[in-house]
């Protein structure tokens, strides 16, 4: 066989599936025709020859199909390999480029690290608050049973448990505080009161030992949290099986729960130990009455039951139970079932936590803005670099690189930068999280946010890095790939007007966003100043707080508490230096205690919604202790106790709202009780310094059965001595009871925390944004000056003085900055809904903050544009014109 002369057909690029099919067809067709031709030569007729060739081949159709399939598979593999090798090339090139321009790369990576790190940190918080599932088995099956009120009594839960058809089991969870015997004084620990089936229904395995089993008979046991186990018992396995003293009684430790487990609760309300409650057992002042609403109820959905089905079934049951016990279960008509994921955990805590959530949302927005500024910065810088790389790019294009390939390569550079920035940013975010955690240790309640990065956070970081890469890399890449070949290789070529406009737009945008951030920083700074001067409505100076656990655990405890309260107050009043004392269930502004419910007119229908109020339960003497003056009427007396007619005191706001100010003598209903108003007091702050005054109801502590542990307020001239004496009396009244003392001014200082934190964070972000914008403006103006060097040279050549040039450059940048400033301030004044309750008596239109912002922005704009302007004015006109 002679070797045939093969003339190559130049095929380039990849083949589509249609090409593959075509090639196979053509090859087989060729074979057929050659065979037919040979047979013709042998003397067959044309029809016979064709028929014979076809028969000899075998199954043509199947062959063709199979070969095409194989061919497509092969082609696909080839494409992937080619793509992979291109990606490898691009990445290697990008890494080389980045390590060659160390200065630029470092600046870019740091900018990106700050921007991405900030966003990752915010996402980490959102993740810890809403996205992380509870550390239990199958968390999506666990639902909250809400009986129209946020808590439910034991007998009612028992009924629900026995009569429902949609849950495999129902558990209860209640909150309490207990005292744990320790040296030198007993400590107060947040505890969970749970049913025997709690841990098994939640399917939460212990870290050590065992958990409660549904058939456990002994109630004198306790399960510890890992945190308590390590801090108080050294993490020793030997504690399991030992007894520890809780509320004066010994309980055996049967197990330890891992740190990730926090029951069914949002992060921050971590219980440190769990005690079982069974039908026979009572805990302190608990009763098993149907109206003693104490627990939260949760159910695990039966297989195949959806949340909606469960809700429907429970509504029916709720109606039945409301009809059976109309006095206690009236609200059961609004029985609801909802999932415990995400927001579901926070139901019922809504109002109190709204400012926190708003603030977090606000910070996230800021972090997003910083990201945008950073990307705009980098886009500007990269645009400049793209222009400088004109020759390199033009040569590549001339050698045949496709525009798409070029863009892909430029984008790869951006992506590598972004991923490096993202990695550093993740580390920054972790450091920030660690700092926040240590700061949060100062809060009165234990906040337990798991801010370590899990795979959601990692995915977010990578995603954000990718988005950044696109944001700052796309425009320069597209610009670079549209370079005109001839001009570029020669080095000539100027600037299109669209480029000018884009760059000017970037400057306006950066200045605008940084103006907005500075403005917000200013608002918060002013808010902080005001917060220091807000009148809370009471006088905390000279008041000592004593948090004392006077209640025992067993039946009959209520009367005993009553007696002890009265006794302690009476004796403390006799101490030297003490002017006044009183008990209160909440300490205003200290984030210690919070009670909200609705009241309504005595004659209104049962299911008509009433007015929301906040409440506090007091003994006589509290108002004068904290110096809240009366507007009319009287204080409570010791005669207002269990069995006496229900009375209440309201504040001015409530009196005005419901009774036009003349409230004394009027009546209202709360729950199943009716109360007559005996006094009206001045308004005072309840929860935050920035709040609008809430309508407040004060009830006599001794009249309503409640398990809230009240705090004794003591107005005294000798805080330290009084504290000691109170401790001694408490030991007499109830040995082993813990007593925590602190000055009220310290406790109330917590209320300043949000204002301080807010000012700190927004101020820092504002300055950061301003810095980034300044750098960005500087870079862009420098670049513009370089681009217009010919024009500048000509002006100089015809005699324009230096000052003139400087004025032109600075003037144009000032003009753009003013535009940005206006936009930023306009956006800031519209941000009222976002900032709502976060600011203390500062409106989002505050002129002082606006003026300060304007000053800073214009100053930075001038500073940023001065050096380039000077450089422009010192340019040698001849050299410039000759070089071009």
């Amino acid at each position: 066989m002679r070797p045939p002369r093969v003339r190559r057909l130049f095929t380039f690029g990849s083949r589509t599936p249609r090409d593959v099919a075509k090639d196979v067809e053509e090859e087989l067709q060729f074979h057929m025709e050659m065979r037919t031709a040979d047979l013709l030569v042998e003397g067959m007729s044309e029809g016979e020859a064709r028929h014979r060739a076809l028969k000899e081949f075998g199954d043509v159709v199947r062959s063709s199909a199979s070969l095409t399939r194989q061919g497509r598979h092969l082609e696909w593999n080839r494409r992937i390999e080619r793509f992979a090798s291109e990606v490898r090339q691009d990445t290697a090139y990008a890494v080389r480029l980045i390590s060659r321009n160390k200065g630029f790369s470092l600046a870019a990576i740091l900018t990106l690290a700050v921007a991405i790190g900030g966003n990752t940190a915010m996402f980490g918080v959102v993740n810890a608050l809403f996205l992380q599932p509870l550390a239990i088995g199958a968390p999506h099956e666990l639902v909250r049973i809400h009986t129209g009120e946020s808590t439910v009594s034991w007998p009612n839960v028992d009924d629900i448990r026995r009569r429902n058809t949609v849950f495999t089991d129902v558990l209860v969870q209640g909150h309490s505080t207990v005292s744990l015997a320790a040296e030198p004084v007993p400590v107060v620990i947040p505890a969970g009161l749970v049913s025997m089936n709690y841990f098994s229904v939640l399917a939460a395995p212990p870290l050590a030992g065992r958990t409660l089993q549904p058939d456990d008979t002994r109630a004198e046991v306790v399960v510890l949290s890992e945190r308590l186990w390590r801090s108080r018992f050294g993490g020793a396995e030997s504690i399991i099986g030992q007894a520890i003293t809780i509320d004066g009684r010994p309980r055996e430790v049967i197990g330890v729960m891992p740190a990730a487990f926090r029951g069914v609760a949002p992060p921050g309300l971590a219980r440190q130990l769990w005690l079982p409650v069974d039908a026979g057992g009572v805990h302190r002042t608990l009763t098993m009455a149907r109206d003693a609403r104490r627990f939260e109820a949760y159910g695990r959905l039966a297989p195949g039951v959806s949340v909606e089905q469960a809700a429907a079934a429970m509504r029916v049951l709720g109606d039945q139970m409301a009809a059976e016990h109309p006095l206690t279960n009236a609200r059961f008509k609004s029985m609801e079932v909802f999932a415990t994921a995400g927001i579901g955990l926070y139901r019922g805590l809504g109002k109190a936590l709204l400012p926190v959530f708003t603030f977090i949302g606000f910070l996230s927005v800021i972090a997003g803005f910083i990201l945008l500024i950073s990307c705009a910065n980098l886009a500007g810088l990269l645009l400049g670099r793209a222009a400088a790389r004109r020759q390199e790019i033009a040569v590549r294009l001339a050698l045949g690189a496709g525009k798409g390939r070029l863009m892909r390569q430029l984008l790869t550079e951006s992506l590598v930068l972004a991923l490096c920035g993202g990695a550093v940013g993740l580390l920054l975010a972790m450091a920030l999280a660690a700092t926040l955690s240590s700061m949060a240790a100062d809060l009165p309640f234990a906040v337990d946010l798991h801010l370590e990065p899990d795979r959601r956070v990692l995915a977010y970081t990578i995603g954000i890095s990718g988005v950044c890469a696109l944001l700052f890399g796309l425009a320069p890449a597209r610009r670079a790939s549209r370079i005109c070949l001839v001009d570029s290789i020669k080095g000539t070529g100027g600037d299109g007007s669209t480029q000018q406009r884009f760059r000017q737009g970037l400057i306006v945008a950066q200045v605008g966003v940084s103006a907005l951030l500075l403005f917000w920083g200013g608002l918060f700074a002013r808010s902080l100043l005001h917060a220091g001067h807000v009148d809370p409505g009471f006088d905390p100076s000279g008041v000592l707080l004593a948090e004392v656990q006077l209640a025992d655990e067993d039946a009959g405890a209520l009367e005993r508490v009553d007696a002890r309260l009265v006794e302690l107050q009476r004796r403390v009043l006799e101490f030297p230096g003490v002017e006044d004392t009183g008990w209160s269930s909440i300490v205003p502004l200290a984030l210690l205690g919070n009670e909200r419910f609705r009241i309504s007119r005595p004659d209104s229908a049962v299911d008509q919604p009433g007015t929301w109020i906040v409440a506090s339960r007091l003994t006589p003497g509290w108002f004068s202790t904290v110096r809240i003056p009366f507007v009319s009427g009287r204080d409570f007396t010791w005669q207002d106790k269990q069995g006496s007619p229900g009375v209440a005191i309201v504040n001015e706001t409530l009196a005005r709202r419901l009774w036009q100010g003349a409230a004394v003598g009027q009546r209202f209903r709360h729950g199943s009780n009716v109360a007559e108003i005996v006094g009206v007091v001045h308004d005072s702050k309840y929860w935050t310094l920035g709040e609008a005054t809430e309508p407040t109801v004060y009830l006599p502590f001794r009249q309503t059965a409640t398990t809230l542990a009240p705090t004794l307020h003591v107005r005294t001239t000798d805080l330290r001595g009084t504290a000691e004496r109170i401790r001694r009396v408490v030991q007499e009244l109830r040995p082993g009871a813990p007593a925590v003392m602190k000055p009220m001014s310290d406790a109330v200082a917590v209320a300043l925390l949000p204002a301080r934190a807010g000012a700190l964070v927004t101020g820092a972000f504002g300055l950061l944004g301003a810095l980034l914008a300044t750098l960005g403006v500087y870079g862009l103006i420098s670049y513009i000056v370089v681009q217009r060097s010919r024009e500048v040279a000509i002006r100089r050549a015809i005699g324009a003085p230096t000052g003139h040039i400087v004025r032109i450059v600075v003037g144009s940048s000032i003009g753009l900055s003013v535009a940005g400033l206006m936009l930023g301030l306009a956006a800031g004044s519209l941000s009222a809904p976002l900032l709502g309750g976060l600011l203390v008596e500062v409106s989002p239109r505050d002129p002082i903050a606006a003026a300060a912002t304007a000053l800073i922005v214009m100053a930075t704009a001038a500073v940023a544009s001065f050096p380039p302007a000077l450089r422009a004015s010192r340019v040698d006109p001849l050299a410039t014109l000759r070089a071009v």
């Binding site: 066989m1 045939p4 000899e56 075998g58």
Partner: protein, 109 residues
């Protein structure tokens, strides 16, 4: 009486193709014709099997393919041996020789 046409034993198509291409590049039909001529009609390959083998060998990298112009100016796909293909050919030839010798000893004894 001419000898009956032998059906090809499994796995020998590859060897035939590689041997055919040893002399130089060829398209599928040439290979088919070469086999028929060299064995004087004793061996007949089903063409479908031939092309399956050709594509398979190309995918494995034993032979390479290029589109070229045939003698009569038609577009045809030409196959040629790669280095790996030559190595495979050497291996298979030696294996086949030893196999044939062994079989001959048994059959003729």
């Amino acid at each position: 009486m001419p000898p009956a046409n032998l059906t090809l034993l499994q796995g020998t198509v590859d060897l035939l193709i590689l041997r055919a291409l040893q002399a130089g590049p060829a398209h599928g039909y040439s290979i088919s014709r070469w086999v028929r001529e060299r064995t004087e009609g004793a061996l007949e390959m089903e063409d479908a099997a031939l092309y399956q083998a050709l594509h398979r060998l190309e995918a494995k990298g034993a032979i390479g393919a290029e589109w070229g112009l045939s003698d009569n100016n038609r577009r045809a796909k030409y196959y040629s041996l790669t280095i790996a293909g030559r190595q495979q050919l050497r291996r298979e030839v030696s294996t086949w020789k030893r196999y044939a010798e062994a079989m001959l000893k048994i059959v003729e004894a």
